[in-house]
């Protein structure tokens, strides 16, 4: 065991170490308030729930592909996946940073309440579903029903967005650089003012995406027409 002050990386091989042991050790750092801060996980081999429930300023690098719910409910930690991620990447993350070098399956960043999620490849359907304050930057494209019922936070898509983007959206801000296959119920395009360009610029910088121009994005958000029940809106659903 190394102390928190030593710049040594703790390496855990999931081919040899049970997932339960890895997560317990990561949790123990938060519980004890001390322990290794830098972790490298090798041979994840698509395991589910890798590095979920972290609650300390850890730096966890995962070498390979992960399954469902990697970095789920993350707090404070930085988790980097050198591969692809399965369903529910960083679901309900509260704070910290989660970066996936490859692509993410559906429901990336679902219900996230804070922090920053970066997907350098594409994200599949329902990216940012019910997001509640998390910021998400996708270097590639997102699938259908992304930002479904999105409440707050920003979704920045450098590529294209699939059908029904922002369906039943609340107050989240959606920025898309490419084409949008279709907008969902109550989602409309909105004016891209300088403050929005600045917001995209900031998010791209934090995501270390430096090859796209913030001015190229278009903004989408809620028309706020479905916030209360009105019979005249019945056809919109």
């Amino acid at each position: 065991m190394v102390t928190g002050t030593e710049p040594v990386t703790e390496v855990v091989d999931l081919a040899l170490t049970p997932l339960r042991e890895l997560n317990q050790r990561l949790h123990d750092v938060a519980t004890a308030g001390e322990g290794p801060r830098h972790w490298r996980v090798v041979n994840p081999r698509g395991a589910h729930a890798v590095a979920c429930g972290l609650d300390a300023e850890l730096d966890v690098e995962i070498d390979g592909h992960v399954g469902y719910y990697c970095a789920g409910m993350n707090q404070l930690a930085t988790v980097r996946v050198r591969g692809n991620a399965g369903t529910g990447l960083a679901e309900n993350m509260m704070s910290g940073l989660v970066v996936v070098d490859g692509s993410a399956s559906q429901s990336a960043g679902a219900t996230g309440r804070g922090g920053l999620l970066v997907v350098r490849g594409d994200a599949a359907a329902r990216c940012g579903i019910s997001m509640k304050g998390v910021d998400i930057v996708v270097r590639g494209s997102v699938g259908h029903l992304s930002a479904f019922m999105a409440q707050t936070g920003c979704l920045v898509v450098c590529g294209d967005a699939g059908d029904a983007l922002g369906d039943s959206i609340y107050e989240a801000r959606l920025y898309v650089r490419g084409t949008v296959a279709g907008l969902g119920a109550d989602c409309i395009e909105k004016e891209m003012r300088e403050e929005h360009v600045a917001q995209v610029r900031d998010l791209l910088a934090r995501a270390e995406v430096d090859d796209v121009d913030p001015a190229d994005f278009r903004r989408y958000g809620s028309a706020r027409q479905l916030y209360t029940f009105k019979i005249d809106n019945a056809g919109a659903y």
Binding site: N23, H27, E91, T111, I129
Partner: protein
Amino acid sequence: MSDTVSTGTSRAGEWHPGLRESYLFDRNTIAEIQRAAREGIYDIRGFGAKRSLPHFDDLLFLGASVSRYPLEGYRERCDTNVTLGTRFAKRPLELKIPVTIAGMSFGALSAPAKEALGRAATEVGTSTTTGDGGMTPEERGHSKLLVYQVLPSRYGMSPDDLRRADAIEVVVGQGAKPGGGGMLLGYKISDRVAAMRDLPKGIDQRSACRHPDWTGPDDLEIKIGELREITDWEKPIFVKVGATRTYYDVQLAVKAGADVIVVDGMQGGTAATQDVFIEHVGIPTLCAIPLAVQALQELGLHREVQLIVSGGIRTGADVAKALALGADAVSIGTAALVAMGDNSPEYEEQYRKIGSSAGFYDDWQAGRDPAGISTQDDELASHFDPVLGGRKVANYLRVLTLETQTLARACGKSHVHNLEPEDLVALTIEAAAMARVPLAGTNWIPGLNGSL
């Protein structure tokens, strides 16, 4: 009525000789058609199903006699404790009584009402449950055993609260609206509720009906695995379903790794749901229990995966009958609210001012509850005393327990879990078929054996 007859005139809704009301278009039906035409929106209300359904009232216990001997009603021990979550969790829930408080959200209920539920549950040694709105400090602080719900909306979802909880309940559905999501109308989205749910104040909030990050039983298994990992396998994980295809749902939830299954029959209450949903979707609690028990028995996990049943529990007789059919515990929601003062004649004058009456009040969605329970109005909520309300619910829980013990002793059982289907008979053919106990005076269980 006498005025009407004497003057020979009639006012709307008053019968006099010669007037025949339609069974098909009765007064409630006519009123609803007229309301729908006037308002252009479906009726949304609270409470649960109001239609007549086969229920526990249709069952009777066979008390002990010559062939069985009873226990002394006031002397011999009849235990009531329940352990929930023995399958996988490091820290199962130890309850003193087999009655728990069901999930009801802060938002649907006022903060003092939630506090009262926590106080009551703690006083009698049982658990209470959060709801579709997150965990409040008041609730956590006053609840020794608190079950934290993971719902499709994930409003207020927090890993800190997961770790603070004593058990986790993954809510797939509820009996009042299987297949539907939560609903909280704008009147009740106060500043605090809005902040907890990350929503704009005053909007009509419609929760998702599907979970955002899993679909189907295989995903659910992985989701449960994640929740266990986050909480280091300490907490029992419940899966709650509204009663519909109960046999299959229970088997799939067990396969997905649930420690405890919660089955909520169609009589289960709601804070706000379309009336058409409440009255026309789901199956009665009475028939859901045998389906769930069969599913568990076929897996060899009855009693190892515990079964909690809710939906229409009102008396100790209901509790005892649910346990006899194979449940490990029951949950109450509506009855707990009534115990703490909902629909009390004390508020008759105020109920009348809002177009209702004590005993009929079901507009829990509107937030104008004079009892201060189903409201987010600070002035109304101030009418409710959480200490007194908690005391009333605790009293009620004790009565339920005493009544359950009374019936169990009469059947010769030294633990309420020793009640069994063999102790029951049914009063109607429907109840016999649904509960899978014989029609009284016969050996006939319709659907299972021969004919009368």
